[in-house]
Amino acid sequence: MNRADLNNHGDLNLQVDLAGIKLKTPVLLASGPAGYGHEYRELLDFRTLGAIIVKGISLEPWTGNLPPRLAETSCGLLNAVGLQNPGVEYFLKEDLPALRNSGTKVIVNVVGCSPDEYAAVTSRLDGKEGIDGLEINISCPNVKAGGMAFGTDPKATAKLVEKVRRETELPLVIKLTPNVTDISTVARAAETAGADGLSLINTLAGMLIDTENQKPLLGNTFGGLSGPAVMPVALKMVWQAAAAVRIPVLGMGGINSADDALQFIMAGARAVAIGTGLFYNPGLPVEINKGLAGYLHDKGYNSLAEVEGVARRQKGAD
C-alpha cells in the first residue's frame, strides 16, 4: 500500500472521541492561527480535520496589542496578538454560519477578563447550532487578582471552570497555560471542577530585543512562544497532565510532523492540534493524518486508541 493512497485511510480508524466530541480524525486546528476559518478553507480541505478551534472570543470586541505583534525566533514564533477579536455577537452573526458548512466540527475558544465575562460568553454560545464544544482559554490575565493568568492558580482555575460549567452542557475543554510551576495541580483542579477534557500547551512566555533600536521587538514587550522550539516542553506537560487526570487530553505545541503527533499520542493525548505549523505549511494537518494512518498500517494497529499513552504504560507511569 502506497502512502499516497492513504488519503481515505483504508480500513484504518482514525476517529477519536474527545470529551464527547466525535472527531473524524485526531488532527485539529489550534485556536488562533486560523482565525475563524474563512481564509484557510481555501488552502486546506477542512473535511480532513478533526475540528477547527476558532480564535478566542470575548464578550465585547477586543482591540488587541500594539504592533509589531510577530517575531521569528530559533525554530519558534513569538506572537503578541493580544486576543484581538470582534466579540461574541459578531462571531455568531458573521462567522458561525460559514463554519456550520465547513465540513468539520467547530470548537469555540472562550476568553475573558473575569469569571463573569467567561460565563457570559459561554452562555451566549450555549445551544447555538454548529458549535460542538468549547475550549476555555484560562491564560488570560485575572484582572482582579493582580493580572496573573487564571490558569496559573489552581483555585482560580477551579472557580472559573465551575462558573462556566453552570452555563452549558456543551463539551468543555480547558486550555492550560505552560507558564506554571506544576501543571498537574491545575489539571486536576480543572477536572474536579467539571471539565470534560484538557488542552495544552498554550504559548510559553518570551520576548526578543531589537538591539538596533534598543527596545523590545514586540509592541507588547512580552509575547507567547510557539512552534517546534517548544515541542519538548509541551510533550512533557501533556505527559504530566495525562498522568494527573482521567479526562482526555488534546495535545499541542510545536507539532511539525506525524512523528511529533505520535509522540503526543504515545504520551497520553487523545488528539493533537496544529497552530504555528499552519503558517509555514498549510498542508501539515493532511500530512500528519496520512503519516498517522501509515504508522498504524505499518505496525498492524487498527485504531489510535491502541497507541494512546503507550509510552507511559511502558514506563509504568500510570
Binding site: 481564509e39 488587541g64 503558517f279 509555514y280
Partner: protein, 242 residues
C-alpha cells in the same frame, strides 16, 4: 543580483501573473519549522500574463531574502497570491514616490498605464538607487531621482522633491520607509491631495486569519495583508513605533 544586496527574481506563475494588480503581493513559502520559517511577503514588481511570469525586486535583509537571492534556475518555490488589495486606479497626473526598496510595487503600478505620471525615486545615496533603469524605461514615465548626499539626481530626500511637485499632482502613490511615508502623509494632507501608501509589517498567515500583521490606523488596527497593504495615506498612524 542587480546591485549589491539586491536581486530581481523572475518566476513562472501563470495564475498569479494573470490575476495580479499593482500593489498586491505574494507570499513565498519556506516550508520549514526553522528560520526562515514563515512565508516571506514580496510586492509584485512585474507581471507578464502573456509569458505567465512575475518578478520580485528583493533587498537581502536576513535568512529568507538571502535564500531567495541564492535561488537557482529551475528551482521550485511555493507561492501564494496575489494577496492584498492593491492600488486604486491611477488618475492622469499622478505622482509616484519611492524610497529605496519601496520601488517594487510602484514600478508595477507605473507600468500599468500610459497616462502621464511622474516617479520620484529617492535614497540616501546613488548606490541605493538600485532599480535597473531599464525597468523604469516605461512609455510616458518621467523619473526624478533624489539622493540625500547628492551623489545622483537632485540633492535631497524624496519628500523634499515631492513638496516641490505636489502642487501639480492629482494623486500620490508611495512606498518606502516609515519616516518617508510619514512625510508624504503630511504633504498630502496639507495640500489636500489624495494619497495611497503601501506599508509593511511582519506577517505570518498572509491571508487575514491571524491578525498578526496589523498597523495602527484612524480606524483601529488593520491587517496589512488583507485590508492593505495599500491604505489611504490619511488613515495610517505613523508614530515612533514605526
Amino acid at each position: 543580483m542587480v546591485a549589491p544586496g539586491f536581486c530581481r527574481l523572475s518566476l513562472e506563475a501563470p495564475k498569479i501573473a494573470a490575476a495580479a494588480r499593482p500593489g498586491q503581493f505574494v507570499q513565498v513559502y519556506m516550508f520549514s519549522g526553522r528560520r526562515p520559517m514563515l512565508p516571506r511577503p514580496f510586492s509584485i514588481f512585474n507581471a507578464n500574463p502573456g509569458q505567465g511570469q512575475i518578478s520580485f525586486f528583493i533587498e537581502v535583509k536576513g535568512p529568507g531574502t538571502a535564500m531567495l537571492a541564492a535561488a537557482k534556475k529551475n528551482e521550485t518555490w511555493s507561492l501564494l497570491g496575489p494577496l492584498g488589495n492593491g492600488f486604486p486606479a491611477m488618475p492622469e497626473g499622478s505622482l509616484l514616490v519611492a524610497g529605496g526598496a519601496g520601488i517594487a510595487p510602484l514600478v508595477f503600478l507605473a507600468a500599468s498605464t500610459q497616462k502621464e505620471r511622474l516617479l520620484i525615486y529617492g535614497a540616501p545615496s546613488a548606490t541605493m538607487l538600485t532599480c535597473p533603469s531599464s525597468d523604469l524605461d516605461l512609455p510616458g514615465l518621467i523619473t526624478l531621482e533624489a539622493t540625500e548626499d547628492g551623489s545622483r539626481g537632485e540633492k535631497g530626500t524624496a519628500p523634499e522633491l515631492l513638496a516641490v511637485k505636489i502642487k501639480e499632482a492629482s494623486a500620490v502613490f508611495s512606498c518606502g520607509p516609515c519616516g518617508m511615508l510619514a512625510a508624504v502623509k503630511s504633504l498630502c494632507v496639507s495640500h489636500g491631495v489624495p494619497g495611497w501608501v503601501s506599508v509593511e509589517e511582519r506577517m505570518a498567515c498572509g491571508i487575514g486569519a491571524c491578525v498578526g500583521c496589523v498597523i495602527k490606523t484612524g480606524n483601529g488596527y488593520r491587517r496589512v495583508c488583507k485590508d492593505g497593504p495599500v491604505f489611504p495615506v490619511e488613515e495610517v498612524v505613523f508614530d515612533e513605533q514605526g
